[in-house]
Symmetry: C2
DNA sequence: ATATTGTCTATAATGTCTGTAGACAAAGTC
DNA sequence: GACTTTGTCTACAGACATTATAGACAATAT
């Protein structure tokens, strides 16, 4: 698990949208002003979120972004996995990668790292945008 | 917390040394063969470990590396912090960095990430090389 | 028409990761 | 004292990720 600005800004933007409701669209600029982040950069992040059905968009005046589903259906685990990859502290213990690393020789170390992975995954899967509004 | 090979290889090397005891020195090549890792690369990692008093060295024939203290006095938290930095999932919730990120505006998100940091830090501080032999 | 908004593709500065190269220094062996 | 065996030090470098920026284009509302 390595949280970069990709996950961070994505979570912030989605929380902002969750707070705003799904009745109308929110301009990207409103989000950028709220958190003081780069507009062009957030555009590229939101494009990824759109391709993966987290948000809906509308162009033109009165256009913008909104959540594609209700806030309690979007968990942080999904957002982080999309933007920054697996939640495990190292690929050696990720469910999603096969890796042949030297760490595999040390079962006790693996066990500890897997416990960390499970803790994080469980926590982030249960945490939804609804709880962060 | 982003575990790279720096932490991984360092932990492996130290576990290997812990297993070997402190009576004699272990050649770097023995460690590299055991885990199939680059010798030149491990040299640079061990240099850092030496500078930070994790290992003692001796040059020349019959030289090599050994732990500088008993295995139950070396915890993974210290190794990881040295090699890969803070244990927190993001700098925003690290005890060791001051950072002014947009995430600071969202207290509920911060709280969750801090819980992850605390879980990892507590676990890694209590886990010593002695338990991994 | 025009202004407003998102879309798409390309580019780029900077830093990190994962090493490699090679000369040098010290310790033991014969 | 010569030689072999080990660690030490400094520099470099390719690949990749991070964090954006630029600019032309497409759609929508008024």
């Amino acid at each position: 698990m390595k949280l970069t600005t990709k996950s961070e800004y994505s979570i912030l933007a989605l929380v902002y949208l969750a707070r705003h409701g799904v009745k109308s669209y929110v301009k990207i600029e409103d989000i950028c002003e709220e958190y003081d982040i780069s507009k062009k950069y957030l555009e590229t992040l939101l494009a990824t979120l759109k391709r993966n059905q987290f948000v809906l968009t509308k162009r033109g005046a009165a256009g913008g972004y909104k959540l594609s589903k209700s806030a309690d259906k979007i968990c942080l685990a999904d957002i982080i996995r999309l933007m920054d990859g697996a939640l495990a502290p190292t690929d050696s213990v990720s469910e999603y990668f096969y890796s042949d690393t030297p760490l595999l020789k040390e079962k006790k170390i693996l066990k500890e790292f897997k416990e960390i992975r499970d803790y994080i995954a469980d926590k982030m899967e249960r945490l939804t945008l609804a709880e962060l509004i």
